[in-house]
């Protein structure tokens, strides 16, 4: 294809993993991630000093205090600098965000990170300091304030619904920034942004304005932007100190260059590729230090952003491809290194760490193919460093160059699971424009987390809230009571045993689902309103459209619009498989009575006829086999859910959007739930992703799975995650890789939204489970989420092993 410089592409193909990046990789996997206490201790000191001041100013001063006091660490060999903790891989618990969560974790005398299996390492000193912070913040955070606000209104209902797995705990969540405005930072630097804000401050009194909150917000924005600049200067200082003591001439020169770069950015606009990448790190790092729980979940479209710097430096001979590889590889390593100590609900939802999205390819604002040699380079480097994160959705469109798709598959094979993933950009654009987003801003969408997406003029991701379609089946079968907890969650829709027809039962499902969804959203809106008042993110707001002009935080209404506030509705596959068994066995073939079936599932298929009934359930049609009847049920349930959710509005008056994502939701919620009429036993995982068939139930191969997925038609949502496992042997021959590209393209041309491949062989997984020490870098997908296989719990590991053996 003429579009690309073929010589450059073949040079990129020859780039190998440098010793520097290989050392980082080794360091990444050596030992346990460290748990630090410095950030939260500084946050506590600042919070004591600023008591009684306006919240945005407190947030800004907290950041300033953190930036001035946090240890500045430059690890051996680093050329891109910036580290949220003193550790190469470490986490600082966010007690300033949620004052009650850490105590529960510390009660076990250990602290686990993203996944329950990953135990953090800590010193006695850090542990003691964390205890002090935990005690201080208890009762003082917005999350506790939110609970104190909705509980008097809704009693224990919300907590009961969470316990049953009906919904997610929304009050342990902050709004994420998905897309810091790097275009602006690259153009005018943070100094330019400060100047802009000072203009607003100056104009406040001059023009007259009744809303003094704006003034507080702007002051907070200035302090926060300055903090990011000051943090960089501390790194410059540290680099100079290290350089002075450095005996190795080459390393000394590197450190001197680091000092020059950090002295310049992010205050001033970057002058080259190196500085541009360092801006990305500093902005990410400072955002995280301010927020604690929610660092950016996306970094925008890095390939479009960095390409001009890259190609100019390369063409002008100021940058070798080897150095560019070291810089980009360092950036990817920086992202992979980020860790979090999560609340229990969170860590099961997530399993792992940074949760960061760097979408690439796709089209530009004016609709032209956006991919470049740098897109190719980005994929190549992701395949060399082989980390589970960032998530790299390839924004597919019908004009995407074949070279990019080939490179993407090649990277997928190298990394193993789900890096990159494939997302249908054309669907995304249709989805956003239908919701009133302009065509340019829709084309320019970028990713957040695993599969969220935001238009260019919104830049955030709002809610992790999900509604559980499977639990609604349980409620419909038990007259509104969750069978495992025994607590009432839904309305009394009547005893299922009195249903005369399947339609009656289906209607009960609809009523249960709708009731839970609407009531949950009522609680969530209270939480959102409390967050808007009591949790401020001035730096993030300074880097998002609209907020500075309006003088408002993005959680409080500062953005131009909130059209893509995506709620999650999940579990349709397991729900439809369950209802289909009932339809066939109870209402059509009349081989079982409703009582027999409910008794069997309530007893987890124990008892005399239990296993027989389970086999009968398993033999009924399942989603993923190109079966119009059960696929149609998924379709109808999805459409019904969309109609309920689109009829509700967020706190800013926009109808909610939908994101059918993945993550470890199916596992977390599966653990909470009893046996299902689909034949699934109690506490086993539900179907993963949002469109994947139940584990091992797809018996007609990948094309049948895609046909089912298309029939389900999840175009009402973004995401619509479909995970597929393929044995690695399948990808060995180039001509078969071509067929896989055609396979993806056919799916997208027919309206599919999202697909990702786990490329692995079963034996690899079994070996990895037995000898985790030898497979530390094996990446697999759990739902819409990449993780290191060895860090997953044995149940999730077994599930993945089952997946590879049961299908094609």
């Amino acid at each position: 294809m003429a579009k690309f410089n073929q010589k450059l592409l073949s040079e990129i193909d020859n780039v190998q993993l440098s010793p520097r990046l290989a050392r980082f990789h080794e360091k990444f996997f050596e030992g346990r991630p460290g748990i630090a206490s410095e950030r939260v201790t500084l946050a506590m000191e600042s919070w004591k000093e600023t008591e009684g001041e306006p919240i945005p100013l407190r947030a800004a001063k907290k950041l300033k205090k953190i930036v001035e006091g946090i240890p500045i660490t430059i690890h051996p060999g680093e050329i891109l600098v910036g580290s949220p903790t003193k550790y190469f891989r470490g986490a600082d618990p966010y007690c300033d965000f949620d004052g009650s969560y850490l105590q529960a974790l510390m009660a076990e005398d250990r602290i686990t990170l993203g996944g329950p299996e990953v135990e953090g390492a800590f010193t006695k000193e850090d542990w003691d300091k964390l205890l002090v912070a935990v005690r201080y913040f208890k009762g003082k955070t917005w999350t506790e304030q939110a609970r104190a606000t909705y509980r008097p209104i809704y009693g224990t209902w919300y907590d009961d619904a969470i316990e049953a797995g009906a919904v997610f705990r929304h009050d342990i969540w902050a709004m994420f920034i998905d897309r810091p405005d790097f275009d602006k930072v690259f153009a005018i630097g943070l100094e330019g942004i400060i100047k802009e804000v000072e203009g607003y401050i100056e104009g406040f009194g001059r023009n007259g304005d009744s809303d003094v909150d704006k003034l507080h917000f702007w002051k907070a924005a200035v302090i926060s932007c300055q903090a990011a600049i000051d943090l960089a200067k501390r790194y410059a200082q540290r680099a100079r100190e290290l350089a002075a003591a450095e005996p190795d001439v080459a390393r000394r020169a590197e450190l001197e260059e680091v000092a020059q770069v950090c002295e310049w950015v992010p205050g001033k606009p970057p002058r080259n590729f190196y500085e541009a990448c360092q801006v990305v790190v500093f902005i990410h790092l400072t955002l995280w230090l301010q927020n604690g729980i929610a660092p950016p979940a996306g970094l925008g479209l890095l390939d479009q952003l960095l390409y001009p710097y890259f190609i100019k430096d390369i063409n002008e001979g100021r940058l070798t491809l080897e150095k560019a590889a070291d810089i980009l590889g360092s950036l990817l390593t920086y992202i992979a290194r980020q860790e979090r100590v999560h609340a229990i609900d969170w860590r099961q939802y997530h399993q792992m760490g940074p949760y960061l999205n760097t979408a690439i390819a796709g089209v530009t604002r004016d609709g032209k193919d956006a991919s470049s040699e740098f897109t190719y380079f980005f994929l190549h480097m992701a395949g060399l460093v082989k980390y589970a994160e960032p998530h790299i959705p390839v924004r597919w469109h019908s004009g995407i160059p074949r070279e990019i798709m080939r490179k993407a598959i090649e990277t997928n094979i190298k990394v193993g699971g789900g890096v990159p993933q494939f997302q249908n950009s054309e669907h995304m654009i249709r989805y956003m424009t239908a919701r009133g987003v302009s065509i340019e801003n829709a084309r320019d969408w970028s990713g957040g987390g695993c599969s969220q997406a935001c238009p260019a003029d919104s830049g955030t991701e709002m809610s992790p809230q999900y509604f559980n379609a499977v639990l609604a089946v349980d409620l419909a079968l038990h007259n509104g009571v969750a069978s495992v907890t025994g607590k009432r969650i839904g309305p009394e829709t009547g005893e299922a045993t009195t249903s005369q027809t399947f339609e009656q039962l289906y209607e009960a499902w609809e009523r249960q689902y709708e009731y839970v969804a609407r009531k949950t959203l009522a609680c969530d809106r209270i939480i959102d309103a409390v967050q808007a008042r009591y949790w401020s993110q001035p730096l993030a707001s300074s880097l998002l459209p609209g907020c500075l002009e309006k003088g408002k935080d993005f959680a409080a209404g500062g953005l131009p619009h909130y059209r893509m506030w995506p709620l999650k509705d999940r579990g349709f596959i397991s729900a439809a498989d369950s209802l289909m068994s009932i339809k066939k066995l109870v209402f059509e073939k009349r081989e079982l009575t409703m009582t027999e079936l409910i008794q069997a599932t309530d007893a987890n298929f124990a008892g005399e006829r239990g296993e027989e009934i389970r086999q009968m359930c398993l033999a009924e049609p399942k989603f993923g086999n190109d079966n119009p009847e059960v696929d149609g049920l998924v379709h109808d349930m999805g459409k019904f859910s969309a109609s309920v959710i689109f009829s509700e509005k967020n706190i800013f008056g926009y109808p909610y959007a939908l994101n059918r994502n993945g993550q470890a939701w199916h596992f977390q919620v599966g653990v909470k739930m009893g046996a299902l009429p689909s034949g699934r036993k109690a506490h086993e995982p539900l179907a993963d992703g949002s469109l994947s068939p139940e584990q091992g139930m797809d018996r007609k191969g990948p094309t049948a799975v895609l046909k089912s997925a298309l029939r389900a038609d999840f175009t009402d949502a973004t995401g619509g995650i479909l995970n597929m496992g393929f044995p690695v042997a399948l990808f060995k021959a180039p001509e078969i890789r071509e067929k896989m590209i055609d396979f993806i393209e056919t799916f997208f041309k027919q309206g599919g939204t999202y697909i990702q491949f786990n490329i692995l062989d079963r034996q690899t997984l079994i070996e990895a489970k037995k000898h985790p020490e030898q497979y530390k870098d094996l990446v697999v997908r759990v739902g819409g989420f990449s993780a290191y296989f060895v860090t997953l719990s044995p149940e999730v590991q077994d599930e993945l092993i089952r997946r590879t053996e049961s299908t094609f």
Partner: protein, 305 residues
């Protein structure tokens, strides 16, 4: 009515990527003239339907003996069924009661229209290059059916391919050729005696058909299972290469399918002894060395799977 022609099909496999261009649906036709000792699809050898048992899937529910009108099924000490092949008449009543699908019926009668509807399911994936591949067994054993199926497919714009061992009665290949677009043709051995020893038939008909299919202008990919010690001698490689050269000249291609033992479980399911018990799956280097030998003789040679 050609669409009402019936055939015996063991299995229809969608998303096949190793059997012709693009993404294909494979129709395994039951019945074969050869008795190759390395056969990895033993369930397709006999022409009529057969009941098999995959023990690993059995949940020991104990229902099958009662379902058998011939009293051909007893349970062993662990509760797993044992089928008496003498008594079993393959009526498949046991298969109907087996929910975990441990008991399987290999082979069912289907009309051309029924098979076509299955093939059509994946139409959207054929757009670029895929289509239907008739395989087996030996599909030419049911040439009338295959011809009618291919006609139906061609009408619908679906690409047709045939996987054949080349051994078929006079006229069978000619029947299919006009509606065939791609042929995967096996050349298992060039020596007629060796061929007969390991497959039960000589190779003269096969070589004849090979010429015919090339002359017809249909795209052909010749290939062969690669069986250590049986068809990997220098002599056979040379003879195969010179035959290919004679047919296809400089464009001669050959695909090797290295021997594997994955079919063994199916022999167990069918209560048949595995013919090549002593033979081990070859190392990957071995296939590569044979491939190189063909390359050296001017044949563009590849290794499958």
């Amino acid at each position: 009515m050609p669409e009402m022609v019936k055939g015996i099909v063991t299995h229809i496999q969608r998303f096949s990527v190793h059997d012709g261009p693009g993404i294909r649906t494979l129709v395994f036709m039951k019945g074969c003239y050869l008795r190759c000792q390395w056969c990895d699809n033993p369930e397709t050898i006999n022409h009529s339907a057969e009941v098999g048992l995959v023990k690993a899937h059995c949940n020991k529910c104990g229902k099958c003996p009662g379902a058998c009108p011939e009293q051909a099924i007893t349970l062993d000490a662990e509760g797993i069924p044992v089928i008496d092949s003498q008594r079993c008449n393959n009526c498949a009543k046991c298969v109907a009661v087996c929910l975990p699908e441990a008991l399987i019926l290999y082979g069912r009668e289907m009309t051309v229209e029924e098979v076509f509807q299955e093939v059509k399911q994946d139409e959207i994936f054929y757009e670029k290059s895929g289509g239907v591949t008739a395989s087996g067994g030996e599909p030419l054993r049911q040439a009338t059916f295959v011809k009618a199926l291919f006609e139906r497919c061609r009408e619908a714009g679906i690409h047709t391919a045939l996987e054949t061992c080349g051994f078929a009665p006079a006229g069978a290949l000619e029947q299919v050729l006009p509606v065939l677009q791609y042929c995967l043709f096996d050349l298992k051995h060039m020596n007629p005696d060796v061929h007969r020893a390991y497959t039960g038939q000589p190779n003269d008909v096969i070589l004849d058909n090979a010429r015919k299919v090339v002359e017809s202008g249909v795209t052909v990919l010749f290939r062969s299972p690669l069986i250590p010690g049986i068809n990997d001698s220098q002599e056979n490689i040379k003879a195969t290469a010179s035959f290919l050269k004679e047919l296809q000249g400089d464009k001669a291609c050959f695909e090797l399918m290295p021997y594997h033992r994955l079919g063994k479980a199916k022999y167990e399911a069918l209560r048949r002894p595995y013919p090549l018990e002593e033979l081990k799956s070859p190392e990957p280097d071995y296939a590569e060395s044979i491939r190189q030998a063909y390359q050296d003789l001017g044949i563009h040679c590849t290794i499958s799977k």
